[in-house]
């Protein structure tokens, strides 16, 4: 008789595949509100007769069929509401709709059943072309960033983005094309074309990369896999006249053509302040067999385990490690090696300032490991609880790690010994601030220990911002 609008009740906006909120969290909120009606509605059997989508322009319908097909299986009204909610989130995840509204109505028409329901998704497509223009001011450099995005180019959730940055010192650009498999959003293909310049003052090095890459993501059982081929033309140069000769020797042009594979399992409930779950990422990269100058095999892994303790505090342990094997007798390039140290890895040390160095320029190493143990607690006395205060945490940490070059002629015992001698470690405490769902800021007081000659330390207060933290 009446209409039921199942509107969005989510406090956080959702967008495409970056969505970090798990659908299950939302269902909890809904259920508590509907409890009173649940008794009445649960017993009533319904049949979903039609599922419509209104408001389509350029989107092809066959793409959407997969997302909404499960709604047909609902048996009672609560089920219909749950499934249509899930379908709504799937539609939003495609990244081609600005808004999706669900309207559940009793069915009418010639073939209407007495307990039949019609579910209609009213969608608003995104505009064909969106542009953005920013200006950024950084270290002695200003730049103008122009972005253009075309969501849903051919009607099946393909996305084309172009970003161009014009700065006083450098220009860079990137063009990216993303295509998911219809019905299986988790499987997708991305093509990238880019030019990026970077300056690394800790090595007195500047690097310009021009490259092209293709990436194929797919889930397998409970893991996520990524297969990628990348071809990069790298141009290395000295940042200053006073760069060390070891860095000067690396200047010039190289071509790297590499295949890589990444496997990741992420059962954490959030990327930034996880309360439970674990993350395991294993990555390997093989360069040289598909052309190019650089020739190596690179392995690295990342492991993080979180466990909730009493009083809202969380204990988190993480371990990183990696190894680079040059193939064919050519020495490894400074741009491929690992770096360690800084506010995002072993705290208390200068940015990437651990390990082999020459005249003050850090050259990186071919093998490393790093571990961290953190205890996160909410702010003392919990100011701003439920709102702003929840973005902060205090943490106490213990970090350790080592970076060195291995002599691959010796056996694994010698390698292990080398990695274990001269461990750098540090401990301290600080405050962490969460930025959205992807980044965090840290302000720590660190005490570095086990410092070797040549390392640069950051004793005392250290500030860090980034995406990936030890």
């Amino acid at each position: 008789m009446g209409t039921v609008h199942a509107r969005s009740m989510d406090p956080l906006p959702m967008h495409g595949r970056d969505m970090a909120v798990h659908p299950d969290d939302m269902i909890e909120v809904q259920e508590t509100e509907q409890e009173t009606k649940q008794e009445i509605l649960e017993n009533k059997d319904v049949v979903v007769q039609h599922v419509n989508i209104e408001g389509l322009g350029r989107t092809k319908e066959d793409l959407l069929g997969y997302e909404i097909s499960e709604v047909f299986d609902a048996k009672n009204l609560i089920d219909v509401m749950k499934k249509s909610h899930i379908a709504r989130q799937k539609l939003l995840r495609l990244g081609i709709f600005k808004e999706v509204e669900v309207v559940i109505d009793t069915s009418d028409g010639a073939d209407a059943l007495p307990n039949g329901l019609d579910v209609t998704f009213e969608v608003t497509e995104m505009k064909r072309l969106t542009g953005s223009y920013n200006t950024m001011v950084g270290n002695n450099e200003g730049s103008m960033v122009l972005g253009v995005k075309l969501p849903n180019v051919f009607g099946r959730a393909e996305k084309l983005t172009f970003q161009f940055s014009y700065g006083t010192k450098e220009t860079s650009y990137g063009l990216s094309f993303f295509k998911p498999q219809p019905g299986n959003f988790e499987r997708n293909v991305t093509l990238n074309l880019y030019k990026v310049t970077g300056q690394f003052p800790w090595s007195s090095l500047k690097e310009t990369d021009r490259g092209i890459s293709t990436e194929f993501n797919f889930p397998l059982l409970r893991t996520n896999h990524t297969l990628k081929w990348e071809g990069v033309w790298r141009e290395l140069g000295c940042l200053a006249r006073s760069a060390s000769f070891a860095v000067r020797e690396e200047s010039g042009h190289t071509l790297k053509s590499a295949l890589s594979h990444t496997m990741s399992i992420d059962t954490r409930n959030s990327a930034i302040f996880p309360k439970k779950g674990a993350l395991l990422r294993i990555n390997q990269e093989l360069a040289g067999y598909t052309g190019g100058d650089a020739s190596f095999l690179k392995e690295d892994f990342e492991l993080q385990v979180n466990r909730r303790l009493v009083w809202d505090s969380v204990l988190s342990a993480s371990l990183w490690g990696g190894c680079l094997f040059p193939i064919g007798g050519r020495p490894s390039s400074i741009a491929d090696r690992f770096y360690l140290g800084g506010p995002t890895s072993v705290r208390g040390f200068g940015m990437y300032s651990i390990g082999p160095q020459s005249e003050g320029d850090y050259l990186g190493g071919e093998a490393y490991w790093a571990g961290g143990l953190h205890l996160y607690t909410p702010l003392p006395f919990r100011p701003g609880r439920g709102g702003f205060g929840d973005l902060f945490r205090t943490h106490f940490f213990l970090n350790a790690g080592n970076l060195c070059n291995l002599n691959y002629g010796e056996g694994p015992k010698a390698h292990l010994q080398k990695l274990v001698e001269c461990i750098r470690w540090s401990y301290g405490a600080g405050i962490v601030l969460r930025l959205g769902n992807i980044a965090r800021l840290e302000l720590n007081y660190c005490i570095p220990m086990g410092v070797q000659s040549g390392d640069r330390i950051c004793d005392g207060v250290q500030f860090g911002a980034g995406i990936r933290f030890l």
């Binding site: 033309w233 000067r248 020797e249 200047s251 010039g252 042009h253 071509l255 052309g291 100058d293």
Partner: protein, 273 residues
């Protein structure tokens, strides 16, 4: 580093004696190095030998990018890196080794002028022949320049370099010249050098100076390099006193074989390309 700081550092290093492990870097001798780079490198090697300063020659494919000024050769002495003959002469002078101390003012002016003559005419002509002459660029320069790199980087770098040199030629007004005119310029330059040399053993009578090293570097390379045509070599050969001059320097200073790949003597035929 600012110029003042650099001057300060070079003053400090001037006090250090010339080390044993001084190294000169140039592109790969067999496959990569081109006419102009070979001439410049040979000039620096000749100069250092004339000063009796030991230096090892090290070949790297990325020597051009390692150099602080983008030009080869460059020397790594202690912890200083100095490129091109002019700055290297000044650097050795700061360390107390100089070949031109015995010259008076007028002779020094003439020496500098003739060095600029070689740079202005011979070096530019070499660059022109390598990169602006279609045949030489396609058959010799581009393949050699790009030999250490893999596809497609080799083509990109070779064409980039060619384009850059052509722009430079346009900027200094050489783009309109034909190959014949360039050969004529080389001939004129050799004539001037021949006139100045006359019958003396070296340009300033008894002792060699940096001018002799520079002239030797360029002329010897022109005489021993196989290009698409022999015309240039014949033109240089026609000045007998220059020929004798090159032979004299080769015998005096490069007799202990090595000297890169140019020691096999030009009487036997070209050895560089």
């Amino acid at each position: 580093m600012s110029l003042a700081a650099e001057a300060f550092v070079s003053q400090i290093s001037a006090a250090d004696p010339w080390p044993e492990n001084a190294t000169l870097y140039q592109p790969l001798g067999e496959d990569q190095i081109l006419l102009s780079d070979c001439a410049s490198s040979l000039a620096v090697q000749a100069y250092l030998r004339m000063c009796n300063l030991p230096v090892q020659v090290c070949c790297r494919p990325n020597a051009e990018y390692m150099s602080p000024s983008g030009k080869v050769p460059f020397v790594h002495v202690g912890n200083q890196v100095v490129s091109e003959l002019g700055p290297i002469v000044q650097f050795t002078k700061a360390k107390g080794h100089s070949l031109s101390d015995g010259l008076d003012d007028i002779q020094r002016a003439e020496m500098k002028a003739y060095m600029e003559l070689v740079n202005n005419m011979l070096l530019t002509a070499e660059l022109y022949i390598q990169w602006c002459d279609y045949n030489t660029a396609a058959e010799i320069s581009r393949p050699r320049y790009s030999s250490p790199y893999s596809w497609p980087l080799n083509h990109i770098l070779a064409y980039q370099k060619q384009w850059e040199v052509r722009r430079k030629m346009t900027a200094i007004g050489w783009a309109g010249k034909s190959l014949e005119q360039v050969y004529e310029d080389v001939s004129q330059c050799c004539q001037a050098l021949s006139q100045r040399l006359g019958t003396q053993p070296y340009f300033f009578n008894k002792q060699p100076t940096e001018l002799d090293a520079l002239v030797f570097g360029h002329l010897f390379t022109l005489l021993t390099t196989r290009l698409t045509s022999d015309e240039l070599r014949e033109k240089v050969k026609s000045y007998s006193n220059l020929l004798a001059f090159c032979r004299r320097i080769e015998q005096s200073y490069f007799e202990d074989s090595q000297a890169g790949s140019s020691s096999r003597g030009f009487s036997k035929g070209p050895s560089l390309f």
